[in-house]
Symmetry: C2
Subunit: 258 residues, 2 copies
């Protein structure tokens, strides 16, 4: 059974997230259904990032084992044909060694969270940004972000239902880059806790509004107390833009937010 | 009657274009309806660019005369409230001298046409890009573009129903910039002929595919013959990103594709 790595892009609006569940349509179900129609077999897939409801991806990576050989391009084209009607695309497919695991072989995940910071509502970017009307001051947000960089106990910044054994994570990048009316928050880490990025962004925004100080963010981190977190940012602005692996940065050539 | 200049952004999907007509919903109608609800008067508006059905804008400019004074911010907020449900936003409103005319005072229009050049279909950018599956070679497209720069008779590149008196135009910018899987075609001119940008893009793409040579494009331009144009590119990829005026580049601070 040859193993394939899929590079996947989707608009998460209207899906209850990546992972299959009873509550509604998921990205995983849509792709597994396409794989079943293609192969007439049950083909489970596993992804690097289990994105939440409404969260998007330009660089999701998953793997699956197929009952027969396909050329990479034909597999990709066939899956996209079966996914018609979904806002999900297989950007590329590559046959990989059996040792490759999309989730466990990943050494780094990249997310971008987009804040639209203006009075007027979003139009072209609707569902793809968090609309924050109050003007945000960049410098204090950047200073607060620098407090969260590196190895910390992120208990304050993870959902109470988070199932990770340890709350310790190393935030390798947390950078806020202005782009027109938007602030792009670039985040990278080996792995993330549940709601970690949205919790961090939801805590940086009150800093930009002047409601929280940089010291408040530092104190919230050090408290290791979920109740000290800012309001969790909505899913709309979040996008999984890439996943790195030891041998190859699979998504590098197609990440939308470099 | 104070005059106001509006900076307008919209997702053109689902509208039959900017200009009011009997065939379906237009952006102009939506904004004029909002103005009527706000002022209880009939308030006509005139825009710098009469975009076609399905064409978007991040930097459209229009002007109107209101029966009473409004502060700029309150006018903007009130219009956006009445536009709820539309994918149209008033990004800013400014009271301007009566001599200002959105259309006739404009000295330059900026458009960006986005081509998604990959096998996989668009997801997040659906309706906002032209999906071209065949790989495009950038260098010949750029060389062909350079043939069209400057002052020319653009008869080949305008719709047969174009009502402009003269087919002479000066293309001030025609630049193709790669961005991830996309090619952004940046175009600027004092004014454009009907379908001019889409005709130009639709002629550059066959060059990128190797079907047309640079000399073919040159010959098509010199033929001054509409039947020599390439296929007109679809509206989805086109966006009016800004309009310049003598005193001030109104949209500079909010253009999405700088």
């Amino acid at each position: 059974m040859p193993r394939y790595r899929l590079l996947i892009e989707y608009d998460g609006t209207g899906y209850v997230g990546w992972q299959s569940q009873a509550k509604g349509p998921t990205v995983q179900q849509a792709i597994e259904t396409a794989l079943t129609r293609l192969t007439r077999a049950v083909v489970p897939i596993q992804a690097a990032g289990r994105t939440d409801a409404g969260v998007h991806a330009t660089g999701q990576v998953a793997h699956c084992d197929l009952p027969m050989d396909w050329t990479n391009d034909r597999l990709c084209a066939a899956l996209n044909a079966y996914l018609r009607g979904h806002r999900i695309a297989i950007v590329r497919a590559d046959q990989v060694p059996d040792s490759f695991q999309a989730r466990f072989s990943a050494i780094r995940r990249h997310y971008v969270y987009v804040i639209l910071n203006r009075r007027a509502p979003p139009t072209l970017e609707r569902n793809h940004v968090w609309h924050v009307r109050a003007p945000l001051a960049l410098a204090p947000m950047q200073e607060a972000a620098s407090q969260l960089l590196g190895y910390h106990d992120f208990t304050t910044f993870r959902a109470t239902e988070c199932q990770a054994k340890s709350p310790m994570r190393t935030l390798e990048r947390l950078e806020i880059v202005p782009r027109g009316d938007c602030l792009d928050v670039h985040v990278a880490s080996r792995s993330f806790l549940h709601h970690q990025v949205r919790s961090i962004v939801g805590t940086l925004v009150p800093v930009g509004m002047g409601r929280w100080s940089v010291a408040d963010v530092r104190a919230a981190l050090e408290a290791r107390d979920r109740t000290r977190c800012g309001p969790v940012a909505p899913p709309d602005g979040l996008c999984l833009t890439g996943v790195d692996y030891e041998e190859v940065a699979v998504s590098e050539d197609c990440a939308r937010h470099p």
